[in-house]
């Protein structure tokens, strides 16, 4: 009895705002790009960065764990490392390419990770901007320095 009453009441009180002749307004999806969207948010940079983290991460697992195995685990651990050991390894183009790829991927992977951390925790616009400028400067400097060292390494230096 009460169910019938409620049901009937609901139907009676259900004010139909929209019907076929009077359709509800279309609400755009929150992230949909339109002509009014600003230039800065048109690209797919964040998605590409997200994908880069996963792809570079998988490659880095192999490169970095291999590096750790050679440098810190096999053949006496850290004991054997010295200029002669580095010269012996970089005599081979295989290890030069390995180290170059590891340098670039690790630096970009780390820089993008720290960019995310800065975006998450630095609240003032100015702080965020300058922290990221510092990050990008340090990253470019370190990648270029490392690249230069690998390409210009001289085993017979002084």
């Amino acid at each position: 009895m009460s169910a019938e009453t409620t049901s009937a009441g609901a139907t009676a009180n259900d004010v139909r705002l929209y019907d076929v002749d009077n359709p509800a307004p279309v609400i755009e999806a929150p992230r949909k790009r339109t002509k009014k969207t600003g230039r800065a948010s048109r690209g797919n940079f964040e998605m590409q960065a997200w994908l880069f983290m996963r792809l570079s991460g998988i490659v880095l697992v192999v490169l970095v764990l291999g590096h750790l195995l050679i440098q810190l685990v096999l053949d006496g651990g850290v004991s054997k490392i010295g200029f002669a050991f580095v010269a012996g390894r970089w005599a081979s183009p295989f290890w030069q390419v390995w180290d170059l790829l590891m340098l670039w991927l690790a630096m970009l992977h780390g820089a993008n990770g720290l960019r995310t951390v800065i975006n998450d925790y630095a609240q003032r616009d100015n702080t965020r901007f300058w922290l990221k400028m510092l990050l990008y400067t340090a990253t470019v400097f370190t990648v270029l320095l490392g690249t230069l060292v690998i390409f210009t390494f001289d085993p017979n230096i002084s």
């Binding site: 998988i58 651990g77 850290v78 200029f83 580095v86 780390g110 720290l114 230096i157």
Partner: protein
């Protein structure tokens, strides 16, 4: 720090926190490591001098810590890839985290002597 940064706790949040902390630590070490390696362009002596620091007991123990951070970040990173790309990833994220922790414990136990042998030999004789 923003207020109320504790989300829901448990495996999902704490693995995310650990991934961030280890990631930042590894990245800061990477800067130092590229700079110390760059000394091979200065002279063999300059490089060997800085590498001598890596062979002191305290820094050697820190290397074991670095291995710990890198192993967790690598294994948990593979878990994140599976959560994102494997259709059943989100369902099994907890089981995958405990698998990561288990593999990490085994690898850390295996790395203990090889990584720390330099210090162990120096302190306790060969």
């Amino acid at each position: 720090m923003p207020a109320g940064t504790l989300y829901r706790g448990r495996e999902g949040m704490w693995s995310w926190v650990a991934h961030r902390v280890t990631g930042v630590l590894i990245f800061f070490f990477l800067f130092v490591h590229v700079l110390d390696t760059a000394l091979v362009r200065v002279s063999p002596d300059a490089y060997d001098n800085v590498v001598a620091t890596y062979k002191t007991p305290i820094v050697n123990v820190m290397e074991y810590g670095l291995v710990a951070a890198i192993l967790f970040h690598a294994l948990n990173g593979l878990r994140v890839v599976l959560v994102d790309f494997w259709s059943k990833g989100p369902k099994y994220q907890k089981q995958m985290l405990w698998t990561v922790v288990g593999v990490w414990v085994v690898l850390m136990a295996g790395a203990f002597y090889p990584v720390l042998q330099h210090t162990l030999r120096t302190l306790f004789g060969s």
